[in-house]
Each structure stands twice: as structure tokens, then as C-alpha cells.
Amino acid sequence: MSSPPARHRIAGLLGVYAGLGAVTACALFPILWALSGSLKRQAEISQPMLLPAHPQWSNYVEVFARMPFWRMLFNTVLYAGCVTAGQVFFCSLAGYAFARLPFTGRDTLFVLYLATLMVPLTVTVIPQFILMRVFGWTDTMWAMIIPGLFGSAFGTYLMRQFFATLPIDLEEAAILDGCSPWAIYWRILLPHAKPAVMVLAVLTWINVWNDFLWPLLMIQRKGIATLTLGLVWMQGEYVAEWPVLMAASMLMLAPLVIIYAIAQRAFVSGIAATGFGGR
């Protein structure tokens, strides 16, 4: 009984593929059903066929007519881009300092940073809303960009842990040569931190892109709204107009699926390593 007969092995392998097929079918079917719905006529939506006889691409045209899709796409890219760039820069800078530049009180400060990781959005969202009102930023782009621009405790923690694993010899020669801490960070350590930077960038981008509560609280004007907000407004306005609603959903999904296809590895390993993201 050292190895089971080949017949059993093949049957087992077939079973595994059947299981994997079922898993991927479960993951995909709501999306495929929505895709199919986005190409149907309003009269056809209660019919179970996956491929409508005459795909109605006009449903997509209708989306552009009913909401400023490109404007909202631009806004979403702008917010996600600014916040991601800011997070990567300020978190890696602070993470470097926490890992390599000792000063009085640094380690106490880091413990406090760790403590703020435990504070959920549930507690901070109301005061943040009030802060935005006090600053006069409600219903402006500032509310979407500034709070995330200068970094977060989570990103700093992530970058600090990564920098702590880099060998000290990387910078030793540069320190002896009298390089400034900034030059060491910018020219030596940051280029070596590419894996961690990718993880932080992808998690941040997808978080901002998918965020709903904050734009819901902050934004009323269509001109500065995000895609998620646009979709929810559309859902409220065009109840039961499923083909157009599904077309809008698919248009919202497409950019993220492309990003996911490109950065899947960083995204998945980032979630595996941190337990953050993908909420």
C-alpha cells in the first residue's frame, strides 16, 4: 500500500477539479449574472438565459447619459491616487525613522501608534465628520484627500516592520560617508522597500476606491462624487431598471478587475501578511 492505484489517483484529481470548479462558479456567478443582465432588454430580465439573443450595448450608453461617469471616474482616481501617493511617501518616511533613526521618546511614540491601530472607524467617524465641518471641508475635494494624505498608523506600522528586516549594512557605508538621513532613505532604503510599498499602495488604492461611508457623509455634489456614491444614487433613482443598473455596476467593476489582474500578487500577499484590507 505504498501508493494508491492510478485509477484512484485520477478519480481523486477529478474530484479536486470538480471542487475547484464549484468554488470558482460560486465566486463568479453573481458577477456573470449581472453582466448578462447588463446586456438584456428590460423585458428580458426575468428570463434565465445567460447570453441574450441581442446584446443591448445601449444600456451602457444609457449609463453615461444618466450619470457623469467619466467625471466620477476621474474623481475616484484622483482621490485614490493622492491618498495612495501620500500614504506611501509619509508612511515609509515615518516607518524608516521608527526603524532606524533613534531619538528620545521614539519607542514610546511607536507604542502609541500601535494603540491607535485598535481604534475602529465606528468611534472616529462622528468626530471626523465634525472636524470636516469645522474646517469647512464638507462637500469639497479636501475632505476626500487631506485626512488620508499624510499617512496612517497602519501604513507606518507596515513600513516600519519591513524596514526593520532590512540588513543594517545596506546603509552603514553611506552613514560613514556622511550621507544625510534623507539621502539614505530616498536613494538606498526606499528602492529596497518595493515589496512593502506595493502592498501598502494596493491596499490603500482599493480601500479608497471602494470606500462608501466617508463619501456618503462628505459629498452631496455630483461633480465631486465617487463611483460608489454614483452607483448608490443611481440605485435610489432608477429602482428596478436592472439592465442600466447592472451596466453601471459592471463599469464600476471593470477598472478594479484590471488593477486586480495586474497587482493580484501584492494584494493577496498583503492581505495574508496583515489581515487588513478586503473588508
Binding site: 479536486v16 475547484l20 468554488v23 470558482t24 460560486c26 465566486a27 463568479l28 453573481p30 449574472w33 449581472a34 430580465i45 426575468s46 434565465p48 509619509f90 515615518a94 525613522a97 533613526l101 533613534p102 531619538f103 521614539r106 511614540l109 501608534y113 491607535t116 485598535m118 481604534v119 475602529p120 472607524l121 465606528t122 468611534v123 472616529t124 462622528i126 468626530p127 471626523q128 465634525i130 472636524l131 494624505l149 499617512g151 496612517s152 544625510s180 538621513p181 471602494n210 462608501f212 461611508l213 452607483l231 448608490v232 440605485q235 428596478a240 443598473l245 447592472m246 455596476s249 478594479l256 478587475v257 488593477i259 486586480y260 493577496v268 492581505i271 495574508a272 489581515g275 478586503g278 473588508r279
Partner: protein, 294 residues
Amino acid sequence: MNPTRRRARAGRWFIAPNLAAVAVFMAFPLAFSLYMSFQRWDLFTPPTFVGATNYRDLFTGDPLFGIAVRNTTVFTLGTVVPTVLVSLAVAGLLNRKIKGIGLFRAIAFLPLAVSSVVIAVVWQFVFNTDSGLLNIMLSWFGIAPVPWLTEPHWAMASLCLVSVWKSVPFATVILLAAMQGVPDSLHEAARIDGAGEVRRFVSITVPMIRGAVWFVVVISVINAFQAFDLVYVLTGSSGGPETGTYVLAIMLFQQAFAFLDFGYASALAWVMFAVLLVLTVVQLRLSRRNAVDQ
């Protein structure tokens, strides 16, 4: 200036902008929220100090709080238990070196990238009573249409189903990473002893990754406990039908931003925070232990 002092000075400057952001957008809100929870405040008139009234009202005078606690508990259990069981099985399936496994993984993890809002809108279409996929499929077996989102109990069940669909990929990523760390030699030894596939999974793989399983349980509870986006978009801003999906996060949103009772909402936030804090401490312990294991 000597190099040590120069580096210390640079360190302070490098942390300064980040520290300012964390102080303004995290630390201050935390303190201010606690302060607000002892006030009555609608933002337009000056706040008045009311002591512990907000907390007392929550626990003694508000039937909706009881409903929200019950719904949140049901939702959390209905999300976390199936999520952990399903994702264990899925991770087991995905943890193989066979042809095409990369593609299977990529598709299985795809829902991770989809926002809760799109997920909810898409599933509304699936659940739709007259033309939804589920009721069409039920009709093939002669089963009458189910009011998935319009009857309170079904609405909660539907919400849990969508939540599981959304959470499984996340849990699977973490469990799969842990499974990949289980040494092959253990499986080899058990195989020689004649243990079958399922037996080996239950008695070797699962016990070996129990740290990761607990991590997934705690973090899923934390997420489900605060669920908002999915509930808001799938079944509406007031947690309907009736109070079928009225969870704590919906109550918080309603008290603060619909009724403008910011003090009361803050008290609710702190009650939720107390529960979350216990869970988070457990989670941090587990993740530290995980890190040591690896």
C-alpha cells in the same frame, strides 16, 4: 552637528507630518468622541452635559438598541461560522500544486477587489423577487418565489449569505497562506500510515493552522460586528424590512446623521468600541503568536 544628533533630528522631522495626521484624525477624534458621549448635542445648539444619561438610555430606555444587538449577534454568527467552515474547505482545495491552480486562485479571490456597494447592488439583482436568478431557479423545481429581501427573516438570511460570499475569499487568503507553511513530511508520514485525504486534512492540516483559524475567526467577528456598507446598500439605510436588518452600525448612522443626536450616537460608538477592544486585543495576541510560529 554630530551624526547621532543629526539622525535624531531627521527622525523627528520624518515622523512629524505622519504624527500630525494621526493626532488630528485618530487621537483627537477618539478623545472627542468620549467627551461627546456625555453630552446632548445636535451640532447647531451648544452641547449640554448630561452625565451618563446617554449610556443609561441605551441600556434601559431604547428597545431599538436591543433589536440592534440581537440582529448584530445573529448577523455576526451567520457570517462568521459559515465563512470559517467554507473557507477552510476552499483553502484546502486551493492548497495543491496542480495544473491551473493559479487561475483557480485568482478567480476565487476576485471578490476581494469588488466593493461592498457593487456586491450589494449585484446581489439585489440576484435576490430580486420577480426576476432574480434564485427565484427563477427555484421555479424550475416548482418552488414558489421567496421574498429574499422583503421579509425580515429572509432579509437577514440573505444578508448573511452575501456577507459570507464576500468574506470567504478574505478568510481563504489567510488560511491558505498558513496551510502552505505546513510541512509536507507530516502528510507523507500519515499517507504511508494509510490516512485518506479528508482524514489528513482534519487531523493534520487544521490542527497545524489553528492559530490562523482563530485569527480569521476574531477578525471576521470584528468586521461583521461593524458591518455597514453591505447592509446599507442591500436592505436600505434604516435596516429594513421592518427592523429585520437593523444592526448596530445602522443604528449609529441613523442616530448621528439622520436624528442628529451626536451624543447618543457617540455613547453607542463607545459601547461598540468596548466590545471591539476586547476582540482586538485577542487578535493582536494571536497575530503575534502567528508571527512567532512562522
